[in-house]
């Protein structure tokens, strides 16, 4: 139900007195102190938004798990992350490399040959998936990264949507 409010007048607003307004200010301050937005979040959001102009389909984080890494000793973890969008499921495994970069192995379902871009703060890396939908980035610098699976049809028609993930911290 969307009741019309054509007048644009909110009588209730008029009833807020100074004490109410002060209370709302106080409530805001309290929540800002207790549960502040992470300071780096706007930067990560802006990083994600640098995709303007692309016809995009947003993939949502669907699952994430971590296991101790076999490749690198110590506290490093391998992470497996699954993203779902309307047309595609993307699963990636992130393993630490000895040189401090990360290796990313991925699978697309349904399996398809697609161009896949890993955007990082510095630049972007591009690989292609094989017909089983597998792809790999050998060395990705640590920090923010975002996957963009380019639209399948883009070479021919420019139609079709690219699938993008939220920014990850590798």
């Amino acid at each position: 139900m969307t009741p019309s409010d054509a007048s644009g007048i909110t009588p209730a607003d008029e009833s807020l007195d100074d004490v109410d307004l002060e209370l709302l200010d106080g409530i805001r301050e309290v929540f800002q102190a207790i549960d502040p937005m992470p300071a780096d979040l706007p930067e990560r959001i802006r990083f994600c938004l640098a995709l303007r102009g692309l016809e995009i389909e947003v993939a949502r984080l669907a699952a994430e798990e971590s296991q101790p890494s076999l490749a690198v000793r110590g506290a490093e973890l391998s992470r497996t992350i699954t993203f779902d969008s309307d047309s595609l499921t993307i699963m990636i495994r992130i393993d630490p490399n000895l040189d401090g970069t990360a290796r990313v192995d991925g699978w697309l379902a349904p399996p398809e040959r697609r161009e896949i871009e890993m955007k990082t703060a510095a630049d972007s890396l591009t690989v292609a998936s094989d017909e089983q939908g597998r792809f790999a980035f050998d060395r990705v610098p640590r920090g923010m990264a975002q996957l963009v699976v380019r639209s399948a049809e883009s070479e021919q028609s420019g139609a079709g949507r690219s699938v993008v993930t939220p920014a990850l911290i590798l």
Binding site: D5, L24, D25, I27, V30, C48, L49
Partner: protein, 201 residues
């Protein structure tokens, strides 16, 4: 900037609405700087919306990113500050609901404010709040119903000129957000005045 420094998000003057409308317009025409300003201005509100819906920290971060990415596809239909705030808040609520409903991660046993705060042990909230008055306010908020807690938490971060557009979309009939908010505020005032014992709502 220190996270705890109160940021003034409430400029209730019409200039704010006009400024946001200009930024939306510029963003639609491709200005990343304008879009970045909008992100900086409204993300703190969306953070509270996502957290009030019961999301943990990392789910809330993902939801905010998803919402802003989805906005790119909807910018063409959004022309005013009110419409922008309403679209962002309702989309954040929907995305938060979708994440919770997917049940893919452990939600707190109940959805209430106090159970989902950063786990720093009992009393840590009070330590964060140095000001006595604010501490008393925090304790009073904790005695409100979960619905009042969520509503006041969100409303406190909404720029006041944008209330109207939000009312119709917050899942309550337009016009009733006022009275509901009024009841919640009245209850809070009574609690602060020490007129009420416990929760009767």
């Amino acid at each position: 900037m220190d996270d705890r420094t109160p940021v003034t998000v409430r400029a209730s003057q019409p200039e704010r609405s006009e400024r946001i409308a200009r930024l939306v317009n510029a963003a639609r025409q491709g200005s990343d700087a304008a879009l970045g300003e909008i992100v900086a201005e409204l993300s703190p509100l969306l953070w509270q919306v996502a957290r009030a819906a019961g999301l943990n920290l990392s789910d809330a971060e993902d939801v905010l990113q998803t919402v802003w990415m989805r906005l790119l596809a909807h910018l063409d239909g959004i022309h005013t500050s009110e419409a922008l705030t309403a679209w962002l808040v309702i989309t954040t609520k929907r995305e938060a609901w979708r994440v919770s409903a997917a049940g893919r991660r452990q939600l707190p046993a109940d959805n209430e404010l106090f159970s989902m705060l950063p786990d720093q042990g009992p009393g840590s909230e009070e330590q964060v709040i140095v000001d006595d008055q604010r501490r008393i306010l925090w304790q009073a908020i904790g005695q409100l119903s979960p619905r009042c807690q969520e509503l006041l938490r969100i409303i406190a971060f909404v720029p006041r000129p944008d209330y109207t557009a939000l009312a119709a979309q917050l899942g309550m009939p337009a016009g009733s957000i006022g009275p509901t908010r009024g009841r919640c505020l009245a209850k809070l005032r009574a609690l602060l005045a020490g007129d009420l014992e416990g929760s009767s709502q």
